[in-house]
Amino acid sequence: MLRAEIELELDDFSLDVRFSMQNEVLALLGPSGAGKTLTIASIAGLQHPQRGRIEFDGDIWFDSATRRRVRPQNRGVGIVFQNYALFPHLSVRQNVAFGLKRVPEGERRQRVRRLLEEMRLEGLEERRPQELSGGQQQRVALARALAPRPRILLLDEPFAAVDATVRMRLLDLVREVHETHRIPIVLITHAIEEAYALADRMAVLEQGKLLQIGPTDEVFRRPVSHRVARIVGTRNILNGTVVDRVAEETRRTAETRKAAAREMRPSGSRVRTEGGLELEIAEPYPVGTPITLCMRPSRLDVVTATGAVRGERRTAIGLVAARVERVQSTGDRYELLLQPTPHGERLEVELSADAFARRRVEPGGEVRVAISHDAVHSFRNEYPAQRLEDARAL
């Protein structure tokens, strides 16, 4: 549906992204200053890239090679701006009807009414934007953008300025909009939760570059680089080096040892992290490869220091002795901060309230962290050793 190649240079910033999308919700995720807003402004025709091409459903909206530039008026793009950009001198009704100049009077009135209903804004028709709450303004902006039946909807940080409960309802609303209006939606956000709640796919941007694009879950679970891992909020990021290849056999559990011994082939690697932890991972890398490990807190588990390792936890590829530094409850989840002993990078572990109660974890207590296979995602580190320090300082 949408194919965008955008190369845009400003005085102190350059943007270079290319991506395509179908009829789906695509989240543009990245820190502020990553170029997300410039990207959608280029799609809308409010910014003109120096080079590139933007195509929607076979229509060429922009092509630097043929100097083609379709005006924003003729692209059929609906935008909700970060500050809503409602016309302060017009009422809610007039704001929503603003893009319906060419629609006959009767239908115009009907469309405005239906959209105001859809956005639950009945009774506010004659108010001015500045008399509305943030969430209401947000919904007026959404109704206004949808009124001319756009072919694509662009949302610039739509939830940044509203509180948590309003945000939840707006998330639902955007999902409904995608279902009822059946148009692709590009959602700019710097909050991973919003991307995760809404988006089918996710594009991670930083400093004007597209670092990774893919299904939301895939990007979240398997970031391709250190920078992506940080942006998507991965909490246990460990840098290390492959020190050894590991035979299949040692990775297997006791039950299958005999079977494995028959076909002993090298598979997996042993990694020593910078903090001094030694872990085994499934992926085979050459010895000496600089590597980054990501471990999702919810995939890690703890067992008490003396307790037996039973059941599924036996498949753990690593058991790391650690001291409990901090326990924090978020209601139904418990977040533990663990300091491996005698040394190693601190690890964050997340347990359900149930699991937490059964494991009898106490601050200051000694435990072992059970690291299972599927908890660890690894990738070759893109940084030379020197720049790792800079990356960590970010």
Partner: protein, 229 residues
């Protein structure tokens, strides 16, 4: 004061009002252009528009005289084609007032237009409205205070125009003698009563203008301070 003594008052009001209407109609386009567009020659246009503010009025009048005088390019053409002579008519006073006062309108209008949040303009564009509709329905309603302040400023400057007017329209009592020139004339003739009357009138008008400008300026940001950002 007799009708003939009041003539300069009515002439000045007529000249400055017509000049202001012309300045607004001619100036709003360049004001919008300078506020919104980057184009080659933009700085030149900006400089040409600013020049009359900086030039001494007599120099401005001299240039105008070269242009619309009987031997000037515009003046000789007008005379040949239409049989018109501009110099030393009240219409020449209008031209002098337009040239001297229009920059004030353009600068104020441009600043007011630049003050309008560009995202609002962008939003209006993506909603499919023409550039003219965007200007009339969004930019002007949000910038009108600043634009109106420019109109008032322009009118006040036109009302008090002296140097350029004297050079191109002269000082013909009952025909081209505006208030500012009449004051000069009265002082030259030691007619202090006439000078006093005209000075009082001009001062009163100036005070009203200042009050008006303060009113316009004071609520200039009303929308922005209330709008929840």
């Amino acid at each position: 004061m007799s009708a003939s003594e009041l003539f300069p008052v009515f002439l000045s009001l007529r000249v400055s009002t017509i000049a202001t209407v012309i300045a607004v109609l001619v100036g709003i386009g360049p004001a919008w252009l300078l506020a919104n567009k980057r184009f080659p020659g933009r700085n030149v246009l900006d400089a040409v528009i600013t020049l009359p503010v900086v030039l001494p009025p007599s120099v401005l009048g001299y240039y105008l005289l070269l242009l619309i005088g009987r031997r000037g390019p515009v003046g000789s053409w007008l005379e040949q084609v239409f049989g018109l002579r501009l110099v030393f008519t009240w219409q020449a006073a209008v031209i002098a007032a337009v040239v001297a006062a229009m920059p004030l309108f353009i600068r104020a209008a441009r600043a007011a237009i630049e003050d309008v949040d560009p995202t609002l303009v962008g939003a209006a564009r993506t909603l499919g409205r023409s550039e003219l509709a965007v200007f009339l329905r969004v930019v002007l309603p949000l910038a009108w205070r600043g634009v109106l302040a420019g109109v008032v400023l322009c009118w006040a400057r036109a009302l008090g125009e002296f140097g350029a007017t004297l050079l191109v329209a002269g000082n013909i009592p009952g025909r081209t003698q505006t208030m500012a020139i009449a004051i000069y004339d009265a002082v030259q003739a030691q007619d202090m009563a006439r000078a006093n009357a005209l000075v009082v009138i001009l001062t009163a008008i100036s005070v009203v203008v200042i009050v008006l400008l303060n009113q316009l300026g004071g609520r200039h940001d009303a929308y922005r301070s209330r709008g929840g950002r």
